[in-house]
């Protein structure tokens, strides 16, 4: 992968706000989501879940359920294979408990019946003999030696001896000698922080329809961020060959990382295999909260030293993350991201992952980064307050830039943080006056961004239109962006391109829609596929003209002779070449398959104004502005949408959202009434400023924008609350009761 992909160009279509191709389907109710599919003879599947936070499963008696008329299959973990691969085994054990139920809501059995009422009745007839075990849901308790052990023997070789068996991994990043840096500081602040687990909160519950035929072939329809990865997981769990399982991604009703794995899909396949009929499973919201991926819950200690003129002399972080009942590497990303925005001589982060009796963590937008960066940005802000320094000036003074040795190791190439901070500083929001009782907070954010495996096929139809086939579910307008890039490269109007998302039997492997990768990586593959088709079209024109293919070039949607020596021929348009393609050698298509790197890291800066109601503890968000580098915004509206959506998820995380566990280890708020995501009346408009600093790793300079936006809000809100209410909270969410308590405590 060469990283000099980018060439400067004037765009004709990229950067315009075209209508998305799936728009009409989605405003008319025509679009088919996970729960909208049916099949002849379809059964309804339902899952029995553990009411215990931690329990040994002595036995499961299913015969009474099986005997109920209308019940066609009952399964437990005994009906699934035991994959050799540890990662896949964990995924499977999360789908269906084997031996022990590890959290409240852990699946233990499932039924398929002729209708939902019968399926529900059958669940009640399944008798599970549980031996309740001591449980632990708090990361700080779980890390102590002597805490109840969630799973034995899961520690990696990097865990120091003598720690609780719940500690599964340890990591350390950084350089320099923090003690030396701290010795040079005029002020050192040390704080401990905690953040609650939050849920991605997509409005569409997980849903799938599985049909397993007697000949061993199966079809699976599901809402997922990655149908190919679903195939990898399900075929391993079912003991199937990949070619025998075709997975089709439905339209997806939100994911944010939470639909990058499987929960119900292997269960539906196993039920279908046993029943010999298609089985549909749709989760309830309660199941979504109890059994699908929240983020990690965290406990963190941060220590930062600063000189009186605002230079950070050293930073240190101890991060304890819990990804629930299974090992999880998210803390490694938190440890690398924590101080990534800063140019530091001395920096060190230490991370531990700790098992708790909570659901298995699933990725959520920039996994691991929001928490660690919240803690670091809070302490930096407190230091700014201590010295009376401007928070943007301090960040500019310490900002990472080209040549900075990053806190996670590599030396940064060109990055856009300084430009982003400068844009924030000169924006009218930053200098707008505040009223009494209002506070303004800012924070930087960082995320790595990824590329990944991408396949695109581009077919030139004989009428001069284009079909693009790609393999990534469209979660926020990506079909529009991909069509725009194809149209730009080919030089034809956007509405002559139709982009579809293929099933797993129609295209090579595509990585999941994650890591802010699709517009970047699939876009790159699309441009290369278009170039392949252009090469063919130039060859065809050359044959027609009777000149060498090298003497033909592509310009404004047509083949033209390259220079005066090539001969004098009028331009031959794409449509004209396509119309005679059968006569000139056959259908014309281009394709490209690649594992893309060079996504380039991403920085963002957020400014927020709030007012804390000192009687209720409620925080009102008054004004919000997001600054982020998009490299090149292919469809600016959907870039803004990513920035706005990420910011609002971060606002929810900062102010209200949390998993609340009772002393019994059960989740107390598995519904949208008690797990409160931001609603329209909570919010102001979210202003956006898109910076466009071309990414050298993409032909059009595109940089992924999906994840960074969720990183800065946590600290930005906390910093704003501290300036509005005069209290520094070190725990998220800053829910009204918690703020009130702090206000009362502050006297």
């Amino acid at each position: 992968m060469s990283l000099d992909e980018y060439t400067r160009r004037e765009f004709k279509q990229v950067g315009t706000r075209v209508r998305r191709p799936d728009g009409v389907d989605k405003v008319t109710g025509r679009a088919m989501y996970g729960a909208d599919a049916t099949a002849p003879g379809m059964l309804t599947g339902r899952i029995l879940r553990s009411p215990h936070a931690h329990a040994r499963i002595r036995s499961i008696a299913t015969s009474a359920a099986e005997a109920l008329p209308g019940v066609k299959a009952v399964i437990t973990s005994a009906d699934l294979s035991v994959p050799e691969d540890e990662f896949i085994r964990d995924v499977q054990d999360n789908c269906m408990a084997r031996g022990k139920a590890l959290y409240d809501g852990h699946a233990v059995a499932a039924v398929a019946a002729t209708d939902a009422a019968t399926a529900r009745a059958a669940l009640k007839l399944i008798k599970v003999d549980y031996e309740p075990l001591p449980h632990v849901t708090d990361v700080d308790v779980a890390i102590r030696p002597g805490a109840p052990v969630v799973q034995e023997g899961r520690a990696l070789e990097n865990v120091p001896a003598g720690m609780s068996a719940n500690v599964t991994s340890h990591s350390e990043f950084g350089h320099g000698t923090p003690a030396e840096g701290f010795a040079r500081a005029d002020k050192i602040i040390e704080r401990s922080f905690r953040t609650a687990a939050t849920h991605q909160g997509y409005i569409e519950p997980h849903a799938c329809l599985a049909s397993y035929a007697a000949d061993g072939k199966a079809d699976l329809w599901c809402c997922t961020q990655g149908q190919f990865f679903v195939r990898t997981l399900c075929s391993a769990i079912m003991g199937m060959e990949a070619s025998q399982l075709r997975v089709t991604a439905s339209e997806i009703g939100g994911g944010f990382g939470g639909k990058t794995t499987v929960f119900i899909e292997p269960v539906a396949l196993a039920l279908s295999r046993k029943a010999g009929r298609p089985v549909k499973i749709v989760m309830t919201r309660d199941e979504v909260f109890r059994a699908t991926g929240p983020t990690v819950s965290t406990s963190m200690d941060i220590k930062i030293g600063m000189t009186s003129d605002g230079r950070i002399t050293a930073g240190e972080a101890h991060l304890r993350y819990s990804g629930g009942a299974f090992p999880c590497g998210t803390v490694d990303m938190g440890g690398q991201a924590a101080f990534a925005a800063y140019d530091l001589e001395h920096v060190r982060t230490f991370g531990w992952n700790v098992l708790t009796n909570r659901p298995k963590e699933a990725a959520y937008r920039a996994p691991g980064a929001p928490q660690a960066i919240y803690a670091v940005e809070s302490v930096i802000d407190e230091l700014c307050q201590h010295f009376g320094l401007d928070p943007i000036d301090v960040r500019l003074k310490n900002a990472a830039k080209k040549g900075t040795k990053s806190s996670y190791g590599p030396t940064f190439p060109d990055i856009g943080l300084v430009a982003t901070l400068e844009a924030a500083k000169k924006h009218p929001h930053y200098s707008a006056p505040l009223k009494d009782g209002q506070g303004r907070g800012i924070s930087c954010g960082f995320w790595f961004n990824f590329g990944g495996n991408s396949c695109v096929s581009l077919n030139v139809n004989t009428d001069g239109t284009i079909g693009v086939t790609e393999g990534n579910p469209d979660i926020g307008g990506s079909r529009a962006s991909i069509s725009l890039m194809a149209a730009e490269e080919l030089g034809i109007p956007y509405d002559r391109v139709r982009t579809i998302v293929a099933d797993t039997s129609s295209l090579g492997y595509n990585d999941v829609t994650d890591g802010s990768r699709v517009t970047f990586a699939v876009g790159l593959a699309t441009i290369k596929a278009a170039r392949a088709a252009i090469r063919l079209m130039c060859e065809r024109a050359a044959k027609i003209w009777g000149i060498d293919a090298e003497a033909v070039e592509w310009k404004d949607g047509a083949a033209v002779p390259a220079g005066p020596n090539a001969g004098k021929f009028p331009p031959m348009s794409l449509a004209e070449i396509a119309a005679v393609s059968f006569e000139t050698g056959g259908p014309i298509a281009g394709h490209h398959e690649v594992n893309v790197d060079g996504a380039g890291v991403s920085f963002g800066v957020h400014i927020v104004d709030v007012e804390v109601d000192k009687e209720t503890g409620a925080t009102k968000v008054l004004r919000y502005t997001v600054f982020q580098d998009a490299g090149k915004a292919v469809h600016p509206s959907y870039v803004e949408g990513q920035m706005q959506g990420g910011a609002v998820q971060g606002i929810g995380w900062a102010l209200n959202e949390e998993y609340i566990y009772g002393a019994d280890g059960r989740l107390q708020n598995p519904g949208f009434l008690d797990y409160r995501v931001p609603v329209a009346s909570d919010l102001p408009m979210i202003d956006t400023v898109i910076l466009e600093i071309p990414n050298p790793g993409h032909p059009y300079g595109v940089r992924g924008v999906g994840e960074t936006g969720i990183v800065p809000p946590l600290a930005a809100l906390s910093n704003a609350v501290s300036r509005s209410a005069g209290i520094r909270l070190c725990e998220l969410p800053m829910s009204p009761p918690r703020v009130l308590k702090a206000l009362t405590g502050a006297g």
Partner: protein, 81 residues
């Protein structure tokens, strides 16, 4: 020889060093030599690593060429949301 920077917790697997040198022309050779020279690194390499070459992060890409003066940093294999 290529200098490879390791992250801190790999020190114990690399004779206490956070920077090691191996003979390698590309990522594949680099990972193979690292695992052979420092068997303690092998479990982590098997679980997955990313590599940064002159500041650009690669997650797979065995045959990416490494010049002897390049900056190479080993990182955990990472995923997004």
């Amino acid at each position: 020889m290529v200098k490879v920077r390791l992250w801190g917790s790999l020190r114990q697997a690399a004779d206490g060093k956070t920077e090691v040198e191996v003979e390698a022309r590309n990522f594949k050779e680099l990972l193979d030599r690292l695992a052979a020279t420092y068997p303690g690194l092998e479990p982590q390499i098997r679980r997955g690593v990313s590599l940064s070459l002159d500041g650009v992060i690669y997650r797979e890409a065995w045959f990416t060429e490494i010049r002897p003066d390049a900056e190479v940093v080993l990182m955990p294999y990472m995923t997004g949301g």
